[in-house]
C-alpha cells in the first residue's frame, strides 16, 4: 500500500502473497479439474429418468480428494516458487482463478439454496417422528426434524439467503458481499455439521476456503476503511482481460445462470411431487393415524401391556404413504445413513427410519378387497421380517389385525385409534391442558 502507483499489469504482491497465491491457484485448479470431469461424466451418463435434481445436486456436491489436491498443490508450489520468479502474468491468472472459484462457490450455494427454498432437504416431521422418544434420535436427526418443524418459512428463508449469496457471486462488483454472506452461513453450517455429527464436512470446508479466497484481497482495504478509519484504495484494473476473455467470462456466467434456472425448475417439480425423502403414493387412507394396541396375542397367548416384552406391539402409526411404524421393546438396529438416502423404491426410502431406534418401520402393500396387509421391515438388517395381516376396521376407527410372520409366529391384536393432539402443532399461544394423548 505504501509503494505508490502500481503498474497496471503488476499485482504489487510481496513474495509471501505470491507463494500463497500459487498454492491457492493450484489447489482450486485441481479441484475444478476434478469437478468438471465428474460433472461431464455425470452429464453424459445421464439416462432419461436421471433428469432429477438429485443428480445435479450430487454433482454440485463433489468435494472428493481435497487432501490429495492440497498435497499436490503444496508440492507444486514448492517447485513453482523455486524455478519461476516472473510474476508479470499473475494478474491474469488471478482474474481467471477468481472467476472460476466464484462460480464454483455459487454453484454450491445454489445447490443447497434451492432445496431449502422449496423445503425438500428437511421435511416436516412425520406422524411416526412425533411419536418417537426424543432420546431415541441421533443428534443429526434431531437437527433435521427441528428445522423441518419450524414455521414461518424458516428453512425457505435460509435457502433464499444462500441463493442471494450465489447470485451476488456471479458479478465481480458484488462478489465480496456474496462471499461474505456465504462465509457466514457456511461457518455456521460447519459448526452445525460438527456439533450434530451430520457427516458432511469436506464440502462445507471446501466452500469456506473458496469464500475466504474470494474475500481475502478486500480484507486489507476494509480494515483500513472500517478499523483504521483511513483512506482505502479500491481495486485497480480489476479486469485485466478484454475482448475474447470477457466473452468467455460472460459465457460462463450465462451457463451457470441458466444451469441454476434449470436446476431450480427440477427442484420445483420435485417439490410439487412431495418430499422426495419420504415414500411416494398413498397408503390405505382409512388407516392413517395413531393406534394403541390394547389386546395382543402372541402365538395364541395373551401378552399384557409391557414396556419390556420384545414381541408385544405397544402402539402403531399408519402414515399417509404406505409405511407403518411399530413401537415395541425389541431393539432396532441403527440405520447410520446420514446422506444419500434411498430414493428409488418405497422400501429403499430409508430417511424416515434413519438415525433413530425408536420405532420399527415397515413398508406395506394392501389388498383392499381381501383386506390383507403385507408388511416388510424396511431396516436393512431386518428385511426378512414380513407379516401378512388381515385387517378389520370397526365403527369407531379401531382395528383388528391377525396374521402370521414369515418365520411362523402368529399375532392377533386389537388396536384403538387415538386422535392425538400434539403440543408441537397446538402451540404455546393459548393456555392448554393435555393428558397422555390429547
Amino acid at each position: 500500500m505504501n509503494t505508490g502507483e502500481i503498474p497496471m499489469n503488476s499485482t504489487g504482491w510481496n513474495s509471501k502473497v505470491n507463494i500463497l497465491f500459487r498454492l491457492c491457484f493450484i489447489f482450486f485448479s485441481l479441484h475444478m479439474l476434478l469437478f468438471a470431469l465428474n460433472f461431464l461424466i455425470g452429464i453424459f451418463t445421464l439416462s432419461g429418468q436421471g433428469l432429477h435434481f438429485l443428480t445435479f445436486f450430487q454433482l454440485a456436491n463433489q468435494a472428493s480428494y481435497l487432501a490429495v489436491c492440497l498435497l499436490i498443490a503444496v508440492l507444486a508450489t514448492v517447485v513453482w516458487s523455486y524455478y519461476k520468479h516472473d510474476t508479470a502474468y499473475y494478474r491474469a491468472l488471478d482474474y481467471w482463478i477468481r472467476v472460476i472459484v466464484r462460480y464454483r462457490l455459487a454453484i454450491g450455494m445454489f445447490a443447497y439454496g434451492w432445496i431449502k427454498l422449496f423445503p425438500l432437504q428437511m421435511p416436516t416431521p412425520t406422524l411416526s417422528d412425533l411419536n418417537t422418544a426424543y432420546g431415541d434420535f441421533l443428534p443429526w436427526k434431531i437437527y433435521w426434524l427441528t428445522t423441518g418443524a419450524a414455521s414461518g418459512g424458516y428453512e425457505s428463508a435460509l435457502g433464499a439467503l444462500e441463493i442471494i449469496a450465489g447470485g451476488l457471486l456471479l458479478f465481480r462488483r458484488t462478489t465480496s458481499f456474496g462471499a461474505l454472506l456465504a462465509l457466514l452461513m457456511l461457518t455456521n453450517a460447519l459448526g452445525v455439521n460438527i456439533a450434530y455429527q451430520t457427516g458432511q464436512y469436506a464440502f462445507c470446508l471446501l466452500l469456506i476456503l473458496a469464500a475466504i479466497f474470494l474475500i481475502a484481497p478486500d480484507i486489507p482495504r476494509l480494515y483500513r476503511l472500517l478499523v483504521l478509519e483511513q483512506p482505502a484504495r479500491a481495486r485497480k484494473n480489476p479486469v485485466p482481460v478484454s475482448g475474447r476473455g470477457l466473452r468467455i467470462t460472460n459465457g460462463l456466467r450465462m451457463i451457470v445462470a441458466f444451469g441454476m434456472v434449470g436446476y431450480a425448475y427440477l427442484v420445483y417439480t420435485a417439490y410439487l411431487r412431495g418430499p422426495h425423502l419420504l415414500p411416494e403414493g398413498n397408503g390405505v387412507n382409512e388407516l392413517y393415524g395413531y393406534y394403541e394396541v390394547t389386546d395382543f396375542e402372541w402365538n395364541g397367548a395373551l401378552v399384557p401391556y409391557s414396556l419390556t416384552d420384545r414381541n408385544r406391539w405397544q402402539n402403531v402409526v399408519f402414515e399417509k404413504w404406505p409405511t407403518v411404524s411399530i413401537k415395541r421393546a425389541a431393539a432396532v438396529p441403527m440405520d447410520w445413513t446420514k446422506e444419500g438416502f434411498g430414493t428409488t423404491g418405497n422400501l429403499d426410502r430409508n430417511y424416515e427410519g434413519a438415525g433413530t431406534v425408536g420405532r420399527h418401520y415397515f413398508h406395506y402393500t394392501a389388498d383392499t378387497i381381501h383386506r390383507v396387509l403385507h408388511l416388510q421391515n424396511k431396516n436393512i438388517h431386518q428385511r426378512n421380517e414380513r407379516w401378512d395381516l388381515r385387517y378389520v376396521v370397526d365403527s369407531d376407527g379401531g382395528l383388528t389385525l391377525a396374521g402370521t410372520e414369515a418365520s411362523g409366529d402368529s399375532v392377533r391384536m386389537t388396536l384403538r385409534k387415538v386422535n392425538r393432539r400434539y403440543l408441537l402443532w397446538e402451540g404455546r399461544r393459548r393456555p392448554i391442558q393435555l393428558s397422555v394423548f390429547n
Binding site: P125, L130, N131, A133, Y134, G135, F137, L138, P139, I142, L145, T146, A149, A150, S151, G152, G153, R173, F177, N188, G191, I194, A195, Y196, Q197, D218, R221, L222, L225, L226, V227, L228, E229, Q230, P231, A232, A234, P238, E292, Y305, S306, L307, T308, Q314, V357, R420, Y422, L423, L424, W425, G427, R428, R429, P431, I432, Q433, L434, S435, V436, F437
Partner: protein
C-alpha cells in the same frame, strides 16, 4: 492515527431532522425507562452478588404497552412500542428543529453512537455468557429423553436442539460475547455491530419460527446494530461496488485533557470490569457452586437410583391394577433423575406450563424440565430421609397444593425400588419399579 476533528461540512435540513428523530428514538431505546431497573441497581449488594444481578442490569428494553392479543404477544403488534417511540421522536424532533438553528450535530451524533455501542455491548455480553455457561439451554434430563418429539412446543424443541450440543451453544455464546466486547472500542465497533447484526437477525427469525417469545428483544439489537452500521454502508459500497478510493470522514470530539481522558478510561474500564470480568467470575462461581442457579434442579437425588423404570406392580386400595396407557390412576413408568425429581406418566389432563423456564436455585421451583411439554408426565420434587428411608414428595406442577406425599422406599436389589405410601388418607398403597437399562443414541451419538 488520523483524527478528522471538526469536520467542516454542515448537514442538510433533511439530515438534521433525520438525526434529531434518530437521536430521540435511540436515546429512548437505550436508556432504562423502568423505575424497577434503578431500584434494582441501587439496591444491589455488591458484597454478595449473583450472576443474575449483573445479567438483569444488561437486560432491558422499552416496555410501554402490554397488548394482550395474539399479535401483540407473538406477531406484528408486539413491535408497537417502537412505533410509539418513533411517533414521540418525530414530535420532539419537529419542536427541536423549530428552536435549534445549529447546522449540524456532529458532537451529539458521536455521543449517541457511544451510548448505542455501550447499550448493545452489555446486552450481547450478558446474553452470550448465559450460553457460554450452558444456562440458557440445558442438556436434556432423562424425562425429556422419554418424551415424544411431538409432545414439545416448537420453542422447547429448538432450545433442546441447542441444549444437546453444548459445544455449539458455547460457540454461539462466544460469538455474542465477542460482538459485545468489540463494541467497547471505537475502532472495532463496526465489526462488533456487524457480528451483532448477524447473530441477532438469526435469533429474531428463530423466535418467530418457533414462537420463542424474545423476538422483540432480539430485533431491538438488530435495530441498534443497523444504526451503528448505517454510516459506513455507503462507504463500503463506494469502495467495493463502485471500486473508487474512499476516505472515511468521521468526527471525533477532542477530549485530550487529563480529566477527560481519565474519565473516559475509568468509564470504559468500569463497564468492562463489571460486564466482562465480574460477570464471568460470577458465572464461573455459580457454575461450580453446589446450589447453583440453573434451569434444572441441582439437589442430588436418591443415590444410585437415576434411570428409567417400568412399573411392575401398582396397588390401589388393596388390589393390583394391570398396566394400560389409558389408565388415569396407575403409573405407566417412572423416572428418577440424577437430581431430586421423580416423574411418572399418568393419563390425567394437566395444564401445560408454557413458560421459557427461568433459572432457579431451588429444585421445587425450577420448571424447565416440564415447561413446554405434554405427554402426561407428572413431576415431583422430593427430599430423602435416608435414616427412615422415606421420600417426601411435592407436586411441582401444582405449586398451590401444599400436601406432601410420603413414600417409604426399599431397594431389594440394584434394579428394583419398592415404594409404600405412608400417608394415611390415600388409596395408593404400593408400587414396584423395575429399572430398564436403556441406551440413548442422542447421548452416545456415533458410539451408539
Amino acid at each position: 492515527m488520523t483524527v478528522y476533528s471538526n469536520t467542516p461540512e454542515s448537514w442538510s435540513v433533511a439530515e438534521r431532522f433525520l438525526f434529531r428523530v434518530a437521536g430521540c428514538f435511540f436515546l429512548t431505546m437505550c436508556i432504562p425507562l423502568s423505575w424497577n431497573y434503578y431500584r434494582h441497581l441501587f439496591s444491589l449488594d455488591w458484597s454478595d452478588l449473583n450472576y443474575r444481578d449483573i445479567t438483569n442490569l444488561g437486560r432491558f428494553s422499552p416496555n410501554l404497552l402490554h397488548i394482550q392479543t395474539e399479535s401483540g404477544q407473538w406477531g406484528f403488534a408486539s413491535y408497537s412500542d417502537w412505533g410509539i417511540i418513533l411517533l414521540g421522536s418525530l414530535i420532539v424532533a419537529a419542536l427541536w428543529s423549530l428552536v435549534d438553528g445549529r447546522q449540524s450535530h456532529h458532537k451529539l451524533y458521536y455521543w449517541l453512537r457511544v451510548i448505542v455501542r455501550y447499550r448493545i455491548a452489555i446486552g450481547m455480553i450478558e446474553f452470550g455468557f448465559v450460553k457460554v455457561f450452558l444456562i440458557q439451554m440445558p442438556f436434556p434430563p432423562i424425562a425429556t429423553l422419554h418424551t415424544n418429539f411431538g409432545d414439545f412446543t416448537a420453542q422447547k424443541l429448538y432450545w433442546l436442539s441447542v441444549g444437546i450440543v453444548p459445544g455449539y451453544q458455547v460457540f454461539l455464546g462466544l460469538v455474542e460475547v465477542t460482538a459485545g466486547f468489540l463494541l467497547f472500542f471505537r475502532k472495532t465497533a463496526f465489526l462488533g455491530a456487524f457480528l451483532t447484526l448477524c447473530a441477532s437477525a438469526n435469533i429474531v427469525y428463530i423466535n418467530h419460527a418457533y414462537d420463542g417469545g424474545v423476538h422483540v428483544y432480539s430485533a431491538y439489537f438488530v435495530l441498534l446494530a443497523l444504526f451503528l452500521l448505517w454510516r459506513d454502508i455507503p462507504r463500503i459500497g463506494k469502495l467495493l461496488v463502485y471500486e473508487q478510493d474512499t476516505t472515511p470522514l468521521n468526527y471525533y470530539p477532542n477530549y485530550s485533557g487529563i480529566i477527560q481522558k481519565t474519565a473516559r478510561i475509568l468509564t470504559k474500564s468500569m463497564f468492562i470490569l463489571v460486564f466482562v470480568v465480574l460477570l464471568a467470575i460470577l458465572h464461573w462461581r455459580n457454575y461450580n457452586s453446589v446450589d447453583r442457579n440453573m434451569k434444572l434442579p441441582v439437589e442430588p437425588g436418591l443415590a444410585e437410583a437415576a434411570g428409567y423404570y417400568e412399573v411392575t406392580a401398582f396397588n390401589w386400595k388393596g388390589s393390583f391394577i394391570p398396566s394400560s396407557p389409558f389408565d388415569s390412576i396407575r403409573w405407566q413408568d417412572a423416572i428418577f433423575e440424577t437430581y431430586s425429581t421423580l416423574s411418572f406418566k399418568i393419563n390425567q389432563p394437566i395444564p401445560i406450563n408454557l413458560s421459557n423456564g427461568v433459572p432457579r436455585n431451588n429444585g421445587l421451583l425450577s420448571d424447565w424440565e416440564f415447561s413446554g411439554r405434554g405427554g402426561g408426565r407428572r413431576f415431583y420434587y422430593y427430599e430423602v430421609d435416608t435414616i427412615e428411608k422415606v421420600l417426601q414428595l411435592q407436586d411441582k406442577q401444582q405449586p398451590g397444593s401444599p400436601i406432601p406425599i410420603y413414600l417409604a422406599y426399599e431397594r431389594p436389589n440394584d434394579s428394583t425400588i419398592v415404594l409404600r405410601n405412608k400417608s394415611a388418607n390415600s388409596d395408593l398403597r404400593y408400587i414396584r419399579l423395575t429399572k430398564i437399562f436403556k441406551r440413548y443414541p442422542l447421548i452416545e451419538k456415533d458410539d451408539y
